[in-house]
């Protein structure tokens, strides 16, 4: 189980790092998905010790992630219409 947890942690860290360094909105979003999946992995791992609950949660997380993706992509499309780019570095109308 520790190994799985470690993998989950590593995945989560990679996702985090991705959000930090990538500037493409979609890729950042995918990195976040990676984080969520790391969580899913951890949940599944824990459910081996604590029963079925953890696996049920995974479904919740996946569902919510899907909903989030729907809204998120819509927003990305909306902003693409304005800026014609999805590079988050160029969205700095709002600052200071």
């Amino acid at each position: 189980m520790n190994a799985v947890l470690a993998l989950s942690a590593v995945l989560f860290a990679i996702g985090t790092l991705g959000v930090l360094v990538r500037r493409n909105a979609i890729i950042m979003f995918l990195c976040i998905e990676l984080q969520l999946n790391a969580v899913n992995l951890a949940l599944v791992a824990f459910s081996r010790a604590h029963g079925i609950d953890g696996q049920i949660f995974v479904f919740f997380v996946m569902t919510v992630a899907a909903a989030e993706a729907a809204v998120g992509l819509a927003i990305i499309i909306a902003i693409f219409r304005h800026y014609e780019t999805v590079d988050v570095g160029s969205f700095n109308l709002l600052k200071w």
Binding site: L5, I79, V88
Partner: protein, 509 residues
């Protein structure tokens, strides 16, 4: 009526207000897309006389939910097995959310029309978001917290980016979305770790496990830390506040107001329940985190607010600062502080909403005239509006005679009970700093002449807005002078959560 959550039907009763809101939201959504009542597509013929039907309908839904919420006072639950709780703490919080939603709707009437927003979707999203906040407040299970959080967040992401014609709205939406989702990751990871440490996601059970030491310590501590990050992001405290100014500035103003109040309130209520019921046994571990977050937030937010000349952005920093004050209550972790948190959120809802309402009016139901310079001469051209704004600002600043003072005193009382003197001093010192930027707005309003005299005309204040402003200001003064009943109500509401201990003196390091 008694609920034991053995029957699934019990959940319907327990979640009646939420269900009403969701259902109502769907109805409004459908009515909106039917197009007949969409002012955006109504063409210029109706331009002078906007149809507010959807808005009033939304208000009706909120009232219906409020009735249900009131009805829930007659309901008691048995045991702690249910995924949701029925206690006064939750119900009090619901009042705040419903109030915030109602005020947001009231200030949206003309805004939605002028900005040609899709009224049906807009109002429906507000109702959905409100339902989300209420889920959070009523959650006894971390999963329900998560679900509520996401229902709320996703609705608000959409609301933030709602004005498709406005670049800033879209940019704010994207920033909010990416960072929000990012923080959700942390929240979830924390959830998973806590689950791993305790084997349950029921907050009461977690509390039991933590208290008895049955939880796996390292996992638990990391879990707590990650959960704290998730909540901290939603309430917008330093250093998880970076999105706040940008998003508040970019979002449509009524949405900003709603966000600043309802989202923050929901996150705080859940934050309190999870940490004070679930993790109280580990108080020593998370207390320093909360302490430092509170202190740093108050200092940073107030000082950065000094540099703001965009009123929306200034209010954004102000809302961060207020989150900092509320964090003091969390650090105090006693019943008085918790009651103070509820009371303060209520007050904060009114005063912040009021201030944003004025921003909407001065912004001519749009996103113009947001600079502090634009407020110069307001006292001369629109004295009543200026008086209201002054009342809201004084309340935000926490001035005696207004409810803001009583709220702050309540928080300080809570802090005093836990002998958090340094935090109290930081709080009052930063209050002095905050006086400066609140008063700066007041002095532009009253003591400066309009920069551009031609713009100095009477501003249009729609009737619902007048009602909201008047009622808000009156409530602030009334609660400032006669706060006792409401305070007692908050205190009783907290007392229902038996886990909120009388005093934590022994736990304080």
């Amino acid at each position: 009526m008694t609920l034991d959550f053995v029957s699934t039907l019990d959940y319907v009763w327990a979640l009646l207000p939420e269900f009403i809101l969701c259902a109502w939201g769907i109805v409004i959504l459908l009515m909106g897309v039917s197009g007949k009542r969409n002012p955006a597509s109504a063409g210029d013929a109706a331009a002078e006389m906007p149809s507010h039907d959807l808005g009033y309908l939304t208000l009706a839904g909120i009232v219906a939910a409020a009735v249900a919420n009131g009805w829930l006072y007659g309901v008691t639950e048995v045991g702690s097995a249910g995924l949701v709780v029925v206690d006064q703490f939750r119900l009090f919080a619901n009042w705040i959310f419903l109030l915030a939603a109602a005020l947001a709707v009231l200030m949206s009437f003309t805004y939605v029309y002028r900005q040609r927003l899709q009224a049906g979707e807009y109002y429906a999203l507000i109702l959905f978001a409100t339902a989300g906040t209420m889920f959070m407040a009523g959650a006894r299970d971390l999963i329900v917290v998560f679900l509520g959080l996401e229902v709320m967040s996703i609705s608000v992401y959409a609301l933030t980016a709602f004005n498709r014609r406005d670049r800033r709205s879209a940019e704010a939406g994207l920033k909010y979305f990416i960072l929000g989702a990012f923080s959700t990751g942390f929240f979830l990871y924390g959830l998973a770790l806590v689950y791993g440490a305790t084997g349950t996601t029921n907050v009461d059970a977690i509390g039991e496990a933590v208290r008895t030491g049955a939880a796996q310590e390292t996992l638990l501590l990391f879990g707590i830390a990650f959960l704290a990050v998730g909540f901290a992001f939603k309430v917008g405290v330093v250093p998880f506040h970076m999105w706040t100014p940008d998003v508040y500035e970019g979002a449509p103003t009524p949405v900003t107001a709603y966000m600043a109040v309802a989202v923050k309130a929901a996150a705080f209520v859940a934050f309190f329940r999870v940490f004070l019921v679930g993790f109280l046994g580990a108080y020593a571990a998370w207390y320093p985190i909360v302490w430092w977050i509170a202190a740093v937030t108050m200092v940073v937010a107030n000082i950065l607010a000094l540099a703001q000349f965009n009123v929306k952005r200034m209010l954004a920093y102000s809302s961060i600062a207020h989150a900092g004050y509320l964090m003091v209550a969390l650090a105090a972790a006693n019943d008085r502080a918790s009651a103070g948190m509820l009371f303060y959120l209520l007050i904060y809802a009114i005063m912040n909403m009021g201030a944003f309402a004025v921003v909407v009016i001065v912004g001519r139901q749009g996103e113009e005239s947001l600079e502090i310079d634009d407020y110069a001469g307001l006292g001369a051209s629109n004295p009543m509006l200026a008086v209201f704004l002054t009342v809201f600002l004084l309340a935000l600043a926490g001035f005696p005679g207004t409810a803001g003072f009583m709220g702050k005193i309540f928080l300080l009382q809570g802090a005093a009970d836990s002998r958090l003197w340094v935090l109290s001093i930081v709080l009052v010192l930063m209050t002095v700093v905050s006086y400066y930027y609140y008063l700066r707005l007041a002095w532009y309003v009253w003591m400066r002449d309009a920069r551009d005299p031609s713009r100095n005309g009477e501003l249009f204040v729609p009737l619902p807005m007048r009602f909201a402003l008047g009622a808000g200001a009156a409530a602030l003064i009334l609660l400032g002078v006669f706060p006792a009943a409401t305070m007692d109500f908050a205190q009783t509401s907290v007392a229902a959560v038996s886990a909120f201990p009388e005093a934590l003196a022994s736990l304080i390091p």
